[in-house]
Amino acid sequence: MVKMEDLDPHHWIQWCPGCGNFGIVTAMRKAIAELELDPKDVVVVSGIGCSGKTPHYIKTYGFEAIHGRAVAVAMGIKLSNPQLHVIVNTGDGDNYGIGLNHWIQNMRRNLDILHIAHNNHIYALTKGQAAPTTPFMEKTSSTPHGNPEKPLNPLLLALSAGATFVARGYAGDLQHLTELVKEGLMHRGYAFIDVLQPCVSMYPKMSYDYYKEHTYYLKDHDPSNKEKAIELAMEEGDKLPLGVFYKAQTYSIHDFYEDIHQDLPASKHDIYDIDISDIIEEYL
């Protein structure tokens, strides 16, 4: 039996007191414990940012990669050993800025990972520059005259690119978030959760109070309905819906590689005496 304590941090946590990231990593720990996944079979992969520190705060295998490349690293991990449960944690800058290409392409591939985007609407670790999700005309350290860009719509892009599990969570609701994480972990295919994450130091405006007023929970929504999911994602109301927007079981790139891993995952194949005589034959 896996207990929450088995998943305690590798190290003391260095996030600011009150940071939304605590809620996220706790939800991850709870979900893994409740699903009874063996921590040694879980790999948490991150980029760089406050969010990037997540792997250190949950005792599983982890990879704190470079900024923007967590999803690409995760692809190599999951394709080489599909038995591992791979969880990607990115920041909003990390994923919707510098790392966007890998995100889109792997949703298209329907790579079988859980991806949690810590969306605090700011570049926190580098001290408050505008992120791709920062509101229009917001003043930040890099945009003293206002952010000239309209924010991007993560859920709409996820749906358009082909993710097969698309959800929005909120770091302030541990119970709800834990359920999303569990559902994402159990999903075969790209499970993407954009998590609204209060950053108390670098973007206090979007606080817990703010989110309490500006979110609501999806009810009576049929997550198999993609058109409706897209409509929901495009909604420009005052409140953001939380919950599972879309979910489907379709082709995943892993189907193509299934035979390779049939007996053992590729990463565990015996390579001490690969026979290449048939290939050499071709050149004779």
Binding site: D41, K59, S80, Q83, L84, S267, I271, I276, L284
Partner: protein
């Protein structure tokens, strides 16, 4: 006939390369040594393509500047190349071309007629092959064998039509001009990139992440062909950033992992290269250089990236840079690259170039009794009982035990940050120094003989041709020519640049009364600079070429005999 060189010219898309390969295959069947060298612009159609096939009863190492036979698949070929012809000079062309030139020295052949009879100009070059086989004095049944070998996988119809084209044109010629003697040799005929692919497959590569880029693209195609039978995850990625980052992920799980690219793609890999260094993940990167800078001359050769791969990525971390000198070495060294990568838990860069990637050579059949060595990799049964595991433990030789996800008792975080022994981020001065020292000393575990320069030629020679990577081939060929002219010379070839073989270099380069000449395919004499930086030895003679064409044995001989 001891040695024969055939140049084939024609427009891109006319099958020049494939004709070269057919002729090469024929010589291989006869036990001859073969070198096939291609030249073509970065265009799909149009532009002038060349395939140059050189065959010999004696060992040969490189292409030469002359040809005995010119096969002109179009008119311009004759003008462009007629001055390269050497006795017995023979020009072979379709009757259409021959007629239009009104040149009775041209051997006129009904190639297009035969192709058209078979319903497609696609058979034009196979027809040319049949004719060449006859001209060379090969037996009919061998023509058939070559066609079967090369087209077998494309289905019976393709084989039959090609066979028909070849035989018809074979028969259209009355007599052979040469007599192709059979030798007892049994060779492989294989190109540099395929040798890389084989070396990697033999080494147990389990994940290839690659984005296509000339001249490395065919490594992807070749390994992909065997993805199912050899159970390799082959992933064409969205870009080179994904390629290298995904192989780092793959290697982290324990899969032997590789990527291949050219300089432009390698540029995009610079950042993650440093991550592999910092997180101590063993990966193999094939970098096949081409004409540069920037997009440059994509289908031409160069050795302009040496310094770049030596220093790519911010900061300092251990890496190995090796550069095979010919097709055979490409196989063995790529195999070795995987062992070394795991031995030192660091990135290994295999520096190729367009010349080596695409040159096809006869080589002794590759040995397959090679030993895989995974270094300090934790075994599953060891993991069961391990206590207090530390991924980045500071050890005597700097190398720590490497545990893999799913092994019990070893959970840790691999990190691109500076970290302590457990993997946790640190900015502490002493921890930092310990980890830097630990990493930087790792290369010392590589046995010295592995990266020592190789010396070819007479012991008592006082001319030393110093080269690295693919220029070994023309240098060795030049050595042969010089010997014929009674000039004693040596080739000093560096298959490794990093680690740098300091002791041997001092010994070899400071011999009294030697004339050292550095031969490289670049403008700045980068390797000369490396030698000087490492040893203080300044070699004032250089033979440099940077026009995208491989230096020829003739150029080397000329330089040696006359100076610059």
């Amino acid at each position: 006939m001891e040695d024969i060189a055939i140049k084939i010219g024609g427009p891109a898309g006319s099958g020049v390369m494939s004709l070269g390969k057919m002729i090469g295959k024929l010589f291989q069947m006869y036990g001859w040594y073969v070198v096939i060298y291609d030249e073509h612009p970065s265009l799909i159609t149009g532009g002038h393509n060349i395939s140059y096939v050189r065959a010999s009863k004696q060992k040969i190492y490189a292409h030469r500047t002359y040809a005995h036979i010119l096969v002109a698949l179009d008119k311009p070929t004759i003008d462009i190349h007629k001055n390269e012809l050497k006795k017995p000079a023979l020009v072979v062309a379709d009757e259409g071309i021959a007629a239009s030139l009104d040149n009775s020295d041209i051997l006129s052949l009904p190639l297009s007629r035969i192709a058209n009879e078979l319903g497609s100009l696609r058979y034009y070059n196979t027809a040319a092959f049949g004719a060449m086989a006859k001209i060379l004095g090969a037996r009919k049944e061998d023509v058939t064998s070559v066609i079967k070998k090369l087209f077998g996988k494309k289905g019976d119809e393709v084989v039959q039509n090609n066979e028909a084209a070849a035989l018809k044109s074979y028969e259209s010629i009355e007599h052979s001009y040469f007599k192709l003697e059979k030798k007892a040799n049994k060779f492989m005929l294989i190109g540099g990139n395929d040798a890389v692919a084989l070396g990697a497959i033999k080494a147990g590569v389990k994940y290839l992440g690659q984005y296509p880029m000339t001249p490395a693209s065919s490594i992807l195609s070749t390994i992909a062909k065997h993805e199912k039978s050899k159970k390799i995850v082959v992933k064409q990625t969205e870009d080179e950033l994904a390629a290298i980052n995904s192989i780092i992920g793959a290697a982290f799980t324990g899969a032997r992992a590789m990527t291949a690219t050219s300089g432009g793609g390698f540029s995009l890999m610079a950042e993650a290269l440093g991550m592999a260094g910092m997180a101590e993940v063993p990966i193999v990167i094939i970098e096949s250089q081409r004409g540069s800078p920037s997009t440059g001359m994509p289908t031409h050769t160069e050795q302009g990236d040496l310094r770049f791969v030596m220093h790519a990525s911010q900061g300092e971390f251990p890496r190995v840079v090796m550069a095979p000198g010919d097709v055979e070495e490409a196989y063995y060294m790529v195999f070795e690259a995987f062992n070394i990568a795991e031995l030192v838990q660091s990135p290994v860069i295999v520096l190729m170039d367009k010349y080596l990637s695409s040159t096809i050579q006869t080589t002794p059949i590759f040995k397959t009794d090679l030993k895989v060595d995974r270094g300090k990799l934790l075994k599953d049964d060891q993991a069961q009982n391990i206590k207090g595991y530390k991924r980045y433990e500071v050890t005597e030789d700097g190398i720590s035990l490497r545990a893999l996800p799913s092994q019990p008792n070893c959970m840790h975080v691999a990190s691109s940050y500076e970290h302590d022994e457990t993997g946790f981020t640190t900015e502490d001065s002493e921890e930092r120094i310990r980890q830097m020292k630990k990493r930087m000393k790792k290369l010392a575990v590589i046995p010295k003989h592995i990266y020592a320069p190789r010396v070819y030629g007479s012991d008592d020679a006082n001319i030393q041709l110093i080269c690295w990577g693919s220029t070994k081939m023309p240098c060795l060929e030049a050595l042969k020519i010089l010997k014929e002219e009674d000039v004693k010379a040596k080739v000093i070839h560096y298959p490794y640049i990093v680690p740098f073989p300091y002791d041997e270099t001092i010994e070899i380069l400071t011999k009294p009364n030697v004339r050292n000449i550095v031969i490289e395919q670049n403008y700045l004499a980068q390797f000369r600079g490396v030698i000087r930086e490492q040893t203080g030895i300044y070699i004032d003679e250089t033979l440099l070429k940077y026009d995208g064409r491989e230096i020829t044995p003739e150029e080397i001989v000329d330089y040696v005999l006359k100076g610059d």
